[in-house]
Symmetry: C2
Subunit: 428 residues, 2 copies
């Protein structure tokens, strides 16, 4: 499909964050043109499969959800109001043990639907059964970067290596990154094995890092070092990577992140709901650490909404620093789009420019929460909402438009399956 | 219009928070029936003006926005990233000085549109020119409780008294409450005058209270007491009332609130964005203080979205108390619906029951963020979004349905006027 979007406001995020009137052309799965209205164009209008009048609405790159556990949709509103360790041990792990591969396929599709409603065009997904995640994503037409959740109880180094080789040559919508669940669930022997694989493939490594105070304290107890310093001492980050959460970071941790080029993926919704704490976003930003934003899984957040996360990133930083000027809107938007694409290794995503992948969204500005149009970027971060997402395109295909999904299955079927799965698990 | 909603899930909030299958009948501006599917009903289907198949979606009372400054829509994303006092002094007050009455009418209508998209069916509005606010609200069909913003610079006791008498006998959609801007903007003489009026009319009084640390410290410096204790010492709350924000409350303040039956109206979005702090919601709740939720104005928040506020009420409490169990979802929902109706004196709102006013909303559960349906109340608070608001009815009239507004004017006209107003103000 070749699609022309015209009569829009374009926030290309290619270099600056200026919003300019203009149009965007999509040919196949790539962007062919971004710029002012083309008068006499080389491609005549009649040759387009579709021309979309944006009516002054905003077209911009999609959001990258840089940390999630998609298939956990089944536990949404199932167990809440519990601290992280109890929540994991008493509620999450016993239920996850009952999941089949087919369940993971269905529950991942449900998450994809939700991503689309929030203008999210790619996700960095840590969960079991990569085959089921990859199939769900490809069937929907969605872009997923998978990451291993290797730990002492599931998977192995051999499996991870096989998956690394398989899923980086699987489908254009799928990638796979080396990773492990967390320091506190993974033996030193395994961690050294991960570091060796990272060395072998010159690959970045990703893991949960410093999510809770307890995690950091226990790691110091075991190794005399914070998780970041300990993992770094094992040679884990020779080729970069990143940490999910990064709430309880020391100055030394931040220094290691900057020097290794690691990205801190912040998950403020989850950290809030599980009372894990407020990340030091201002400090990391000032110190030049790359930052991306993730929703975390739907069981801890409980929604998969980049607008809520964006407001929380800046709002919580303002509260933490007692400074209303902390982490301004422009910085947050860069994290949600470019930071995410960067950490996921999606070098062809994160901005609208010729040759880049057509992962883009249309934001309805003709809604009361976006009026008056004093500042589009601030509107997005401070008052934007899922309700403003008019269209979500991944890899050149429109997967969501005006509330309707085009993912190869009816949403009602996906909802029904999700309800059936949780009912089955909770019976007797 | 007599309207029958059937085939729904009903969250009446009349007593408990159970969700039951059933239907709701609206006759004129009141609710006529709430209960299970009526087989042989006294009113035959053919007599309805409209029958709405809810298709399993949720019908519930609308949210009450218990503190706002509606007409400040013009300053959305205009001045951000500033602490409260600078923001007020350098940005807000100079721009407000340029507002005409007609501007306030237009800008209030813009806010009403946004309330409707978030399932808000009434607002507690503190702003200038009550005639323009009331007209905007009545013209849209929206329910507004106005409160005086009396202070040393605008309005007078005589005006407030006249307005009190006029707007409590103006239109069924309009009420008016005694109030003043804040302790720090109002002289003791004026405050004593307000207390005398409260005594004369046996009326509750409302004001901004303990929003910032500085406000409390300065009040202690002036009077040797916190704002709550000082105002109470003037006999302000003999007939109840409440405080907006209530962030920096002492145990003694909380005791006064409980004993006087005052409501604390929390505004977490605004308190976050202006880095004012996190209110002691857990403590107030445990001590039996009534709590309601407000968005505050669109210049400080910057959106008018009860879903965002609900998540923040519980999320920030969890962070503040370092307790993931703090302020569970059910409590938050009660604040957003019943607490708001209570503080605004809307005794016929806040639940679905025969004889009550038909201020209600339909929530689309057939959306990914509401699936699976493990717990409707938790879904509303933890993953709900404006996007789920399918229908908003105020006083028996549908004002918003499936993204369309029925407020006697085209939204585009209202948006255009808002943009024109801010352009005019910023020219030269």
């Amino acid at each position: 499909m070749d699609i022309r979007f015209y009569n829009g406001r374009v926030l290309s995020m290619n270099g600056d964050l200026e919003v300019r009137p203009g149009e965007v052309w999509v040919q196949g799965n790539r962007i062919a043109y971004v710029g002012p209205e083309a008068g006499e164009t080389e491609k005549k209008p009649s040759a387009w499969d579709r021309e979309i009048d944006l009516k002054g609405n905003l077209i911009m790159p999609g959001f990258a959800n840089a940390h999630t556990h998609s298939a956990m949709t089944f536990l949404r509103s199932f167990a809440d109001d519990l601290p992280l360790q109890e929540w994991l041990g008493q509620q999450v792990f016993p239920m996850e043990a009952k999941l089949t591969g087919e369940d993971i396929y269905e529950l991942s599709r449900l998450a994809v639907l939700e991503y689309l409603t929030s203008g999210i065009t790619s996700n960095f997904d840590m969960y079991f059964q990569p085959e089921m995640i990859a199939r769900a994503s490809v069937d929907c037409g969605f872009r997923t970067v998978m990451v291993s959740s290797l730990n002492n109880f599931t998977s192995s180094l051999e499996e991870m290596e096989q998956e690394y080789l398989k899923y980086n040559n699987y489908h254009e919508l799928i990638c796979y990154r080396l990773g492990f669940h967390a320091e506190y669930t993974t033996s030193e022997e395994l961690l050294k094995g991960v570091a060796a694989l990272a060395e072998k493939y010159q690959a970045p490594v990703f893991t949960h890092n410093s999510e809770t105070k307890r995690e950091v304290e226990e790691c110091i107890g075991r190794h005399g070092m914070t998780p970041t310093a300990y993992l770094d001492s094992l040679g884990m980050f020779q080729y970069g990577g990143g940490g999910y959460h990064c709430v309880h970071m020391t100055d030394e941790d931040i220094r290691i992140f900057r020097e290794r080029g690691l990205t801190a993926v912040t998950n403020p919704g989850s950290n809030t709901k599980l009372s894990s704490g407020i990340a030091r976003i201002s400090h990391m930003l000032e110190d030049g650490v790359e930052i991306a934003i993730g929703t975390d899984g739907p069981a801890s957040n409980n929604c998969l909404d980049m607008f809520r996360e964006m407001f929380l990133v800046t709002g919580l930083a303002k509260l933490r620093e007692e400074d209303a000027a902390a982490v301004p809107a422009q910085e947050v938007l860069k994290m949600a789009v470019r930071g995410g694409a960067h950490v996921m290794g999606l070098t062809d995503c994160g901005c609208l420019a010729p040759g880049k992948l057509a992962d883009l969204i249309v934001i309805d500005l003709n809604q009361p929460n976006m009026q008056p149009v004093n500042n589009v970027v601030k509107n997005l971060v401070y008052s934007g909402s899922k309700q403003n997402v008019k269209l979500t395109m991944v890899n050149g295909k429109i997967l969501y438009e005006d509330g309707k999904f085009f993912v190869g299955a009816e949403p009602e079927e996906i909802y029904e399956n999700a309800n059936r799965i949780i009912r089955r698990m909770t019976e007797k």
